[in-house]
Structures are given as C-alpha cells and as structure tokens.
C-alpha cells in the first residue's frame, strides 16, 4: 500500500477485555515498530520486528502485551485483560532497512486510539 495502515482507528474496550490491533506496513519494509503514545507525550518504544523475528520486546509494559508478525508483513499487537492505564494511541511504524544499517526514516501509521473504560 501507499503507507502504513492501522486498524481499527478507534477502540473502546471494557476493563478486562482483550484487544487486538493490526498494522499493515509498507510493502517490502524489513523493520516494524510498535510505539505507545500517551496524551501530550512523545511515542515510547514497545517492540521491534525485523521481518518475522521479534528482536526486541523490552518496551512492552507487562506480560499482558504480546506482538507478532508471523509472515514478516502484517503485525498484530494484542493486549490481554486491558486496564485503564493501557489507554493511549498505539502507533505502528515501518522502515525499509533492518538492524545493522544506518537508520532510515520511520513511516508511521495513523495509530489506534485505545480507550479502556
């Protein structure tokens, strides 16, 4: 596609509910990132994929958060037993190159705004 696509754009979940957020990166992009952005803050790193391999999940806040990219393209971020502090915008980004190359620009999706009530 022309850009990074995320769905849904908005999600309201009841506390305790599981949610799944989808990211379609730019075709051919090796790297895929998930970021969490709280209101008024900069994006905070959650996890990184190089193709299908999850090379870094150090930013995931708890074991309720799980991400996958099984075929090296589409990625899903799953949050189990959502809590109010999970409310944020979840941004997906992709970039052309993988680890080991100079950073190139990251292309961000529009994000999914998650509200846990």
């Amino acid at each position: 596609g022309a850009g990074v696509s995320q769905s849904p754009r908005y999600k309201v979940a009841k506390r305790g509910q599981d949610v799944a957020l989808r990211c379609d990166p730019i075709s051919g992009h090796v790297s895929l990132f998930w970021y969490q952005q709280a209101l008024g803050q900069g994006p905070e790193f959650l996890t990184y994929f190089q193709n299908e391999a999850q090379l870094d999940k150090s930013g995931l806040p708890s074991d309720r958060f799980f991400a996958e990219r099984p075929e090296g393209s589409v990625s899903t971020l799953k949050i189990q037993r959502t809590q109010q502090e999970d409310s944020a915008v979840y941004l997906c980004a992709s970039s052309l190159r993988g680890q080991g190359a100079w950073n190139t620009e990251a292309f961000f999706g529009q994000g999914t705004r998650l509200t846990v009530v």
Binding site: G40, Q41, D56, W102, F107
Partner: protein
Amino acid sequence: GQQVMQIPQYQHVQEGEDFTTYCNSSTTLSNIQWYKQRPGGHPVFLIQLVKSGEVKKQKRLTFQFGEAKKNSSLHITATQTTDVGTYFCAKSSGAGSYQLTFGKGTKLSVIP
C-alpha cells in the same frame, strides 16, 4: 533508556514570527531525527542529521546538529498556520541501532 530533552514544551507565536526548538542529550548521539505531528495526526519524518556541525535546510526550516553531537535545533522562519503541530526529535543508540527514543516534543501554536 537515555532521554533526549526538548525545550520549550510549548511555544505560542504570532504568524510571521520565528520559532526555535532545542533538543539536548547528555550523551553523544550517532544521529538525530526530527518529526512533525499535526494535531490528531501521526509523526511524519522531516530530516535526519548525522555529521557533527551539520546544517540542513528545507524551505523555511533549518536543522542543526551540534559540533559535539549532543544537541540539535529546528528553526522555522516566518511561521505560518500550517506549521502548527508538535515537533519531536528522536535519537538512536548508534550505527545499526533500530530503536528510536523520542523527546517529549515542542507544541507550536501559531496565532493568525
């Protein structure tokens, strides 16, 4: 991880005035990237600076990377209402590093 500090947090300017935001790190940076996020939008890449003392221009925007590679700035000349948004700097840990660490951003408001 190591943070990048951005100042100011907010800036209100009259249309036509200049605007500058600063990004500072306590450690030497391998490179610095700048992003712009419009209200309700997503971060959009503006530029990457790599070399010590580098200066790059994009129309009314001027980006600088300090000689010590510990600070950077973005200067907008003669702001327009289309410049409204939050400007973020982001650093990576080093060559080959994939993880970007973002500053908290400077939110720019332009009064017409």
